[in-house]
Symmetry: C2
Subunit: 389 residues, 2 copies
Amino acid sequence: MRDFANESRYPMIPMEKAIEIILEIVRPLHPVSIARDELLGHVLAEDVRAEENMPPFATSHMDGYAVVATDDSKRRRVLGEQDAGAQLDVTVRQGTAVRIMTGAPLPPGADAIIPVEETTETDGYVSLPGAVPEGQWVHPVGQDYAVGDLIIPKGSVVGPPEIGLLANLGRSDLLAYPKPRVAVIATGDEIVAADETPGPGQIRDGNSYALCAAIRETGAIAQRVNRIVDNRRALYEAILEAVSETSVVVTSGGVSMGTRDLVKPVLAELGTVHFGRVAVKPGKPLTLATIKGTIVFGLPGFPVSSLVSFENFVRPALRVMMGHRALWRPEVTAYLRHDIAHKPDRTEFQRAVIRQKNGGTWWATTTGSQVSSRLRSLMGANALLRIPR
Amino acid sequence: MRDFANESRYPMIPMEKAIEIILEIVRPLHPVSIARDELLGHVLAEDVRAEENMPPFATSHMDGYAVVATDDSKRRRVLGEQDAGAQLDVTVRQGTAVRIMTGAPLPPGADAIIPVEETTETDGYVSLPGAVPEGQWVHPVGQDYAVGDLIIPKGSVVGPPEIGLLANLGRSDLLAYPKPRVAVIATGDEIVAADETPGPGQIRDGNSYALCAAIRETGAIAQRVNRIVDNRRALYEAILEAVSETSVVVTSGGVSMGTRDLVKPVLAELGTVHFGRVAVKPGKPLTLATIKGTIVFGLPGFPVSSLVSFENFVRPALRVMMGHRALWRPEVTAYLRHDIAHKPDRTEFQRAVIRQKNGGTWWATTTGSQVSSRLRSLMGANALLRIPR
């Protein structure tokens, strides 16, 4: 028989302190060159500047007639048609006009567009209102951007508009932060993989699957170690192998105080444990270590504790690694629709549904029993209520 | 020379009417069987019920001692250790206790747990406080869920907790709505692909790339037709080919009133045009057609018009096809930090940054010039301001 460890050797630290330590240790990954078609959701690690003007030539913003703005004749000879994507070889002068399509380059001499709706064309002549303001319905050269303009600053998250701009600029292969590779290791004698049949006293693991999904949702690459680790030797080897291949390792279970709770001693043997207990509920036994430059999070084994700890501590760390400046989900102050139980010694997170009343105040209802084994308390929840210490 | 079509044959309809028509036509895709590891983000098309109890046996919620709750002796003989994942062959009676680990099954006879912190063990005997409430620190059979319970209702979006529950249940291959395949066709003589060099009067296309990114961000599969279509025959064939292979076709450009604006006549020739003009800015020439059961959106060619029309009309349609009930992004009422120009004849969408003041009211600042060619007006924006007609 082994001994219970009756007292944790790790002091309990406040949640704020734990996050401070994480943010001191975690650094953005080294930027790599990523093709434009793979860039969606990545954070750029270089400034993107224009190497040409947009538009590169003055263009018409309307279907209509290209004219000399100061020309006040009401009837003009039509010299031809200027389509988009070509350049007609005529010059517009007083008394003449060129039919023009949206997006087409202005013919030489023209400096305004009269929209087709204000005109009538018959027998090669067009009737129109007369003089118009210079530049009317014209996109001048460089209106959208000019050579040298900073188009997408370093640190931007690449979304659809940025992808469009990069295509406009003819740019691909940009320096950006890669997606961290994250290994997930489930521990525990009582669990088997989801596709196995549990023996007596066993249940199927859900945590490693839920954590992999949460990692993917965060934008990182999840790699489930397809083996449940249930003794010290196996855990030591699984972590050692995982740290050599990934930027982050997440373990699930084995961090409380039972005789089988092996994660903390193995982490301490392999590297440096930065903290081993946090004053937060759920998630008290949360552990952070570094081993050969890889960050290791020891998450608790109860399903809710595991996912809520991921949300509070691992997700912001992954976002730092991916180059994000915005680490946190939006936060609002909400009123409670009912009383809740709360012990004031830890920062507590309860799963809740929040709704806004008429675009104004937010109201929260918790999702039933908040016992930390009950994964169902996360279903349908759209918020975590933070209840201060 | 061809004629301008001076009047659109399509009546201008209000935005609300356009959305009503879209929602009448678009239906969820036929559900298919999807493996658990691929389910993240999909909407379930079947109810998931429990086929077993969770926990399947009563378990300890703490490291400690399994005892008879009513036993009031202060010192008891320790019969052995009950680890998680096994089943010890002893029965707990008055005067005895079994060491037990978190997650381990309760030994026969035991009906409460005394946490290790409240005990001292020496020489095979444990000192503890005496009688405790029945069920203390015990997870009874079926506490999380019981056989037959509805665990994940049809229509749920699969997130990390649902993935965890499906793993717990040993379920894979669930009926869910697939991702629609969406073809994107760029039109226009003036554009070339992003990796080509523009000739005189030409620019590189950005729209089809931005739209593909927006489609992927919505969770659908984007397929860029790698060919710019610039004449009626080519457009006819490209659309015909695309509708045979995809659930949705999105064209960009070619829907205003110039002589080269070929999309509407080709759509009318191939199928049914449901509307061809909408009172919305940007996006007036937006067109909806159905061809052999495939939905076709004709989006305007200006980059901003194209992406904003996607957001307002195509994204909700794709969400319907993917089985979502929540079609719209969150909406709040915001105050303007400055005056804006607005013509009251169309519902207008301006790109803006909105921020919340102290968890209360929202304030909006538009992102500079709102001209619809200026893709940069979308960058950094976190909201579209809807300005009513």
